[in-house]
């Protein structure tokens, strides 16, 4: 069975993929759909959703279109999610691979370093980093990457350790291949599937982290994101529920979609682990 057909047997994962693709398309088309941008004050404030033509989700505290904010917010969420995950992988994968492959004191140093980051609660560290660097899209992305890489390093290390003990690696050594060659050509390619699965879940976590930071007022003040929308709506939640409800739904859907995709990938990439009872 091909990868795709194995993936497609998990209907929930396919649904997640469809949602994600829709979110991506919407994000790309945002400037076409709302050329005035998300900050334009287009109507009276606090218009309820479904009541006004052209403003399906109503307006916020300053009379801005909630729909426009939601769609521009998708761009920020996806961008932060993807970029910070890539950065986290760039830190975590090499570190974990070297630690697992060479073992010994290299492993010791790398793992103590990783643990140093792991002992500090993720979110607290992210808050501190953003506060020090001053909130901006770049600093938020970097902070999320810095708090997200340790699990990657540990996962890669474990995978590399297990793969390194296989016979074909011994064979490669006997064939006289260099360590670097063995690590990059023989070992790492065989650890890719769990990394992919983890990465898809990391994107989801990163989106949540960005939203939480913005909710606390640590977002980039020039960028409309879902977390910002909810944070700004918090004080009016009892009189204008829709301001926090719709961005909340958007976060839930996107994060759920990414989780489903992650699970689908897991099933597709590790067919031996496929649980019984699933079609």
């Amino acid at each position: 069975m091909s990868l795709w057909s194995r993936f497609a047997t998990n209907r929930a994962a396919v649904a997640g993929l469809i949602v994600l693709i829709v979110v991506i398309i919407i994000a790309i088309l945002a400037p076409v759909m709302f050329p005035k941008g998300p900050w334009a004050m287009v109507q009276r404030p606090f218009l309820a959703p479904f009541g006004t033509d052209g403003l399906p989700l109503g307006t916020d505290t300053l009379g801005r279109d909630v729909m426009a904010g939601l769609i521009y917010g998708a761009r920020v969420s996806l961008l932060v999610g993807l970029v910070s995950t890539v950065m986290a992988l760039l830190i975590g994968v090499p570190l974990g691979a070297v630690a697992g492959f060479y073992g010994g004191w290299v492993d010791e140093i790398a793992m103590r370093f990783t643990e140093f980051f792991q002992t500090i609660p993720n979110f607290a560290l992210a808050i501190v980093l953003v506060a020090i660097l001053e909130p901006s899209l770049t600093s938020i992305t970097i902070s999320i990457a810095i708090v997200s890489w340790p699990p990657v390093a540990r996962l890669v290390r474990a995978e590399v350790m297990s793969v390194t003990r296989r016979e074909y690696v011994d064979a490669a050594r006997l064939a006289g291949l260099s360590n670097l060659h063995i690590l990059t050509r023989q070992v790492l390619p065989n650890t890719v599937s769990p990394i992919i699965v983890m990465a898809s879940l990391m994107v989801a976590t990163a989106i949540l982290l960005e939203s939480s930071l913005s909710f606390l007022g640590l977002g980039d003040p020039n960028i409309m994101s879902w977390g910002y929308q909810i944070g700004a709506a918090r004080t009016v939640i009892r009189s204008a529920w829709w301001l926090s409800f719709f961005p909340g739904v958007a976060i839930v859907l996107t994060v759920l979609a990414l989780n489903l995709i992650g699970e689908g990938l897991n099933d597709a990439l590790n067919p031996h682990l496929t649980r019984k009872g699933k079609s």
Binding site: W39, A40, M41, P45, T61, L62, G63, A131, E134, P135, G217, D220, P221, N222, A232, R234, T235, V236, R238, S239
Partner: protein, 514 residues
């Protein structure tokens, strides 16, 4: 030859408020936000301290909501016609909370005490030659020069009378009595449970018979705005001072049954909000750019939407509630086309400007967003900076901004609260107050100085009118709003706000309908 300017007797004041219907007793819970750093009003004068300690300490005078002086510790006073001598006649039979008698010696001591500890007092009393006490109930202040706004400098926050018998000869800052303040006011200090509440109780020996009415005051500390709103809704507290809840909650709370609100009680402070426009560098150093900003801003919209209709759009540097205000100045209505013209004329090249919001919560953040949108509509590129309170202080103090939100009090007179924001001698790098925008106009500096010491009020008005006209033409800062902080309270609390500083000294006359 002395001219009796005003002698108001307490009897008249009592009659005016309808003494017959008032009921004694009860306990009143109020919010104080944030928790004050101390209660010794002579040493600490920030907002929350004034709000609580204003019940413990008193000034020589109070001011009604039209900013006319009223009796307090002084039952009457005279100002010599040439403006060079002020004579205060003190109430008799006044005692401190510890039982010691109050006299004119305390007033004379206070002028020494505050000299070291109160910047605003020091500024006002720099015009004073001498303070003398010819007898136990009279204080005579002789001036170096006439100083019109002087009569506005005697309320509890500007000149709290402190007890000489406790502080004389001690190190004021480390005196252990600072923790248990002793005043002459209508309420006595009982207990301060840090992070929770401050408890004051009725001064049974207060020198005005029948006052105060309420038995106990509890100033509650609740750090989160939403929780403060809930505490009011559940009836846990009965009074929310201005600014205690977010503006968006004001409407909801005031619409509840049995809830009253008033925007009175801030006349003395007349908080005036503006954006400092950096006059030194960048596009904001061009007068045409600054005028364009004024035309681009939709200030009415902000008042209606961000401030829920509270406040007034200002015409210039002087609040309409402050003395010597004029509206006979150049006007800046919302006119994006005019703004674009001015920008084209100066050849604005699209250099982005940074806007620094005041880090005081949602309202100010939304305000910055509205300003950004207004400016971008006329083609000015805007980046909103973000900073916490410390960062805001640092950026404004070091002039590291293009436009920065702020608001300052006016204290009833342009010489006290307005001039300081526009005269060159108030440009001080490292201070986030006063002339942060860097506006320099030597000609106007002279006029400000002359107007402050002009004894004749009609002439002062003329001079201030001229100043306002010129300064509004120059737009050193972008005036945004005369802020109104509505006080929200349960309607059974009566007579709560009777003066120009509102809750800060209003509990003397307040009573609770049972």
């Amino acid at each position: 030859m002395k001219h009796l300017k005003m002698t108001t007797f307490l009897v008249a004041a009592m009659l005016a408020t309808g003494a017959a219907a008032q009921q004694d007793g009860g306990r009143l819970d109020l919010i104080v936000q944030p928790e004050p750093p101390g209660l010794m009003l002579g040493l600490v004068q920030n907002g929350p301290t004034q709000m609580v300690a204003g019940q413990i300490y008193e000034g020589l005078l109070r001011y009604n909501t039209d900013l006319e002086p009223q009796p307090s510790l002084a039952k009457s006073w005279e100002i010599a016609e040439d403006g060079m001598t002020y004579t205060f006649h003190l109430n008799e039979g006044v005692t401190w909370h510890d039982g010691a008698p109050f006299s004119s010696a305390d007033v004379v001591f206070t002028t020494k005490f505050l000299q070291d500890n109160h910047a605003r007092f020091r500024a006002a009393f720099s015009h004073v030659e001498s303070v003398e006490a010819p007898d136990a109930n009279t204080v005579v202040i002789k001036m170096k020069e006439p100083y019109g706004p002087f009569i506005n400098a005697f309320e509890a926050g500007s000149m709290p009378i402190v007890p000489a018998h406790i502080y004389e000869g001690t190190d004021y800052a480390t005196n252990e009595m600072n923790a248990t303040p002793i005043g002459t006011g209508p309420y006595k200090f009982v207990e301060w449970s840090k992070g929770s509440y401050i408890h004051l109780t009725k001064n049974e020996d207060y020198y005005i018979d029948g006052l105060p009415h309420i038995d106990d005051l509890y100033y509650r500390v609740v750090p989160d705005a939403a929780s403060r709103a809930v505490a009011f809704e559940t009836g846990e507290v009965s009074v929310l001072p201005g600014g205690a809840v977010e503006n968006w909650d004001v409407k909801r709370l005031t619409e509840m049954d049995g809830v009253c609100s008033t925007s009175q009680g801030w006349e003395f402070f007349a908080p005036h909000a503006w954006m400092w426009l950096n006059n030194r560098e960048g596009p904001t150093s061009d007068k045409r750019f600054r005028q364009a900003v004024m035309y681009a801003l939709d200030r009415e919209f902000v008042k209606d939407v961000v401030w829920n209709g509270f406040g007034t759009v200002p015409t210039g540097p002087v609040s309409s509630k402050t003395n010597f205000y004029t509206d006979d100045v150049p006007q800046y209505p919302h006119d994006p086309d005019k703004a674009k013209e001015l920008l084209a004329e100066m050849g604005y090249d699209g250099t982005p400007v940074r806007v620094l919001p005041l880090p005081y919560g949602e309202t100010w953040q939304r305000w910055a967003e509205a300003v950004k949108q207004n400016l971008e509509e006329v083609g000015i590129k805007v980046d909103i900076d973000s900073a916490d309170v410390a960062g805001w202080n640092e950026k404004t103090a070091n002039w590291d901004y293009d436009m920065a939100f702020t608001y300052l009090y006016q204290y009833g007179d342009p010489a006290l609260g307005v001039a300081r924001n526009y005269t060159a001698d108030q440009i001080k790098k490292g201070s986030p107050w006063n002339n942060v925008e860097g506006y320099e106009n030597p000609e106007l500096d002279k006029k400000w100085a002359a107007a402050a010491i002009e004894p004749d009020n009609a002439k002062r008005q003329e001079m201030y009118t001229e100043i306002q006209q010129q300064i509004v033409e120059d737009v050193p800062v972008a005036w945004l709003l005369e802020i109104e902080f509505p006080t929200i309270y349960r309607c059974n609390v009566k007579n709560l706000i009777t003066t120009g500083i509102g809750l800060n000294d209003g509990l003397r006359d307040a009573w609770i309908e049972q």
